[in-house]
Amino acid sequence: MSWTIPTLMFLACAAASVPLGHWLAWSVDDASSGVRARLDRALRLVGGERALRPRDWRGYALSLLAFHAVLFTCAALVLTCQSHLPLDPDGKADMGADLAFHTAISFATNTNLQHYSGEVALSYLSQLVVVMGSQFLSAAAGLAVLAALCRGLAGRDSCGSFLRDTVRVALVVLLPLAFALALVLLACGVPMTLDGAAAATTLEGVSSTIARGPVAAVVAIKQLGTNGGGFFGANAAHPFENPGFASNLVENAAILLLPMAAVWMFGRMVASRRQAAVVFAVMSLLTLSLVGAAAVTEHAPAAALEGLPVASAPNLEGKELRFGSAAAPVWAVSTTATSNGSVDAMHDSLNPLTGLAPLAGMWLNVAFGGVGVGFVNVFLFVIVAVFVAGMMVGRTPEYLGKKVEAREMKLASLGLLCHPLLVLGGTALFAATAFGRDSVLEHGAHGFTEIVYEMSSAAANNGSGFEGLLDDTPAWNIVTGLVMLFGRFVPIVLPLAVSGWLAAKPRVAASAGTFRTDGAMFGVILAAVVIAVGALSFLPLAVLGPVAEHLAPR
């Protein structure tokens, strides 16, 4: 197994993320010149003065919720009426109400959990407007929230304008990046056509229908914006989404790029590169540890083959050969640590212990996390970490020159508790009732893991799945729809409030007694807090699911 190429990929992403983070910060900067000025003028023309007006954190949150409500409504309308709309060469049927509810929430919240199969259920218009359109805008919205948070932390009076931030990130950063990536994907052989499915007659004379479509454009932004919603059911395992070794490498790098850059965007906006570097180091360490663990466990052969006349090889069920043997563990961790959710191998068929790595990525949800919102999650952990550190040195904790007091701490704890509550509560509901029991593919510990994975993926706004689960039922659609909604907006609104409150406080001068948050010691405490909260919350699920399956007698 060659590790040179994945290592180089990770290093290249880390290097590229620094200038990209500065570019992100530049795009949302209040200064308005050149392309940014032209965008502001266009935005004033379209949305009026309201679209540009700076707001406090409440106004910013309200504007964000209104925008997502409109996005959800439009997406649901297109999905439920797609057979009457253009760009439907293969005559797809309208989507049912509960599935459309789920799908529209899924794309509006940057989750991209799919309870349908793209090439079976969606017209090209739905793929382009609902899937691809939301992939641009929900990713931009995540980065806009980070911009607002940073403004609060930097002590500005206002959070800025949500619409202005979103449009600027989408058009100044995401659009050119996606276009460049789409060109690379075209060169790798990814299709891009508006013609319907191709008819073929195989060498043995059987007729076959080959689904295709405007794949390159969709896949580019899907990977960049931690979206992950596949054009095809098999997602990035499908040869048209990911034709070979090179495309796999480029797409995997694209998954990591913007979540990494968001950290440097924060550093730039609060004018402290060292703060960003500490967080970046902690996140990298968490990600790389998960990759290492997954690589070791996935190198083992599939246990089901023991004693059968099969040549010894790593577990190949659910994997494509053209990506190479290191691809699946690297991708599985990249896609779940960053909240992307696309897959290039079927996670349901990973070795039992390997399945823990993507689960852990989603449980922590901060090892880079979703674009923008990943760092917003980290911010909650940072508040808790400075609080813990403050307790140890016996001083009121401070962060970026602002005192962190009981009010902020309460809200940060609430924000952190939301995630385990959704995962554990949802899992309990489905594991205890026929909703869940009747929908699992495998029974016993593996079936339990299927339920846990689905809930974790919805709550973390990830979007990958143990796809054996029969999840297109009204119960799954409605409950995971709501879980995605809360999993997205609670951890956005609460940190915005905290940063708004911090912004209103007077800045205290650093003294010899101040606990520094830009050094290695703080990195250690932050990592410890993340792991302790994650482990304490989710360890029972890990033991009952993947660990039990691994240890079970065969």
Partner: protein, 190 residues
């Protein structure tokens, strides 16, 4: 609140028209000019008939062809997917046992793992070179040629997995086309 929603709607429609219409047309335009064949799905033709896509596996069951990996969706190129079975479970073991019987594998001649384990998409177009060579004896017998000549075609069709990689892969459709060209079957079998 109404003003907020109306403003959001106008901004949404405007930004979608850029992110979907402008961006989509730009990518489509480049594809039409620079990638006219691959943009349509890398379709291969023989005697004027589209026989499939180079990137997508198709079902082969006749002995004169090299067979691809098993497919959980029966090679449905319009409904991709994997088996999603647990690699430690009894259902996968039962499926593999049936596959081993079809392949005629024995402990003296164990099957390569990829010939019994299904791909994630159900459409993996490739085999490792060993898995293709493993089938050469059957192909040679069905085509009435020495096995060495089949192996030569396998080796000539193979490619390296990635830069600097020792692993070699074979595109099964390309290989079977090459076999048909090198050792044509009597027309009755066509």
């Amino acid at each position: 609140m109404f003003a907020e929603l109306a403003c959001s709607l106008r901004v949404l429609v405007a930004s979608l028209s850029v992110c979907v219409v402008v961006y989509g047309s730009a990518v489509l335009g480049v594809a039409c000019v620079c990638a006219p064949w691959t943009r349509q799905g890398s379709l291969l033709e023989r005697d004027g008939v589209v026989i499939g896509s180079e990137l997508v596996a198709q079902r082969f069951t006749r002995p004169e062809y090299v067979w691809p990996r098993p497919s959980a969706v029966d090679y449905a190129a319009d409904a991709s997917g994997g088996s999603n079975l647990s690699p430690a479970g009894g259902r996968l073991r039962a499926r593999v046992a049936a596959e081993l019987a079809r392949l005629d594998a024995t402990s003296a001649r164990p099957a390569p793992a990829e010939l019994v384990l299904a791909s994630g998409s159900g459409l993996d177009p490739d085999l490792g070179i060993d898995a293709a060579r493993w089938q050469a004896a059957r192909v040679a017998q069905a085509r009435g040629v020495p096995v060495e000549r089949v192996l030569e075609v396998v080796d000539a069709t193979s490619r390296a997995l990635g830069p600097g990689s020792d692993t070699r892969l074979v595109n099964v459709l390309r290989l079977d086309l090459a076999l048909d060209a090198a050792f044509p079957m009597p027309d009755a079998r066509r």
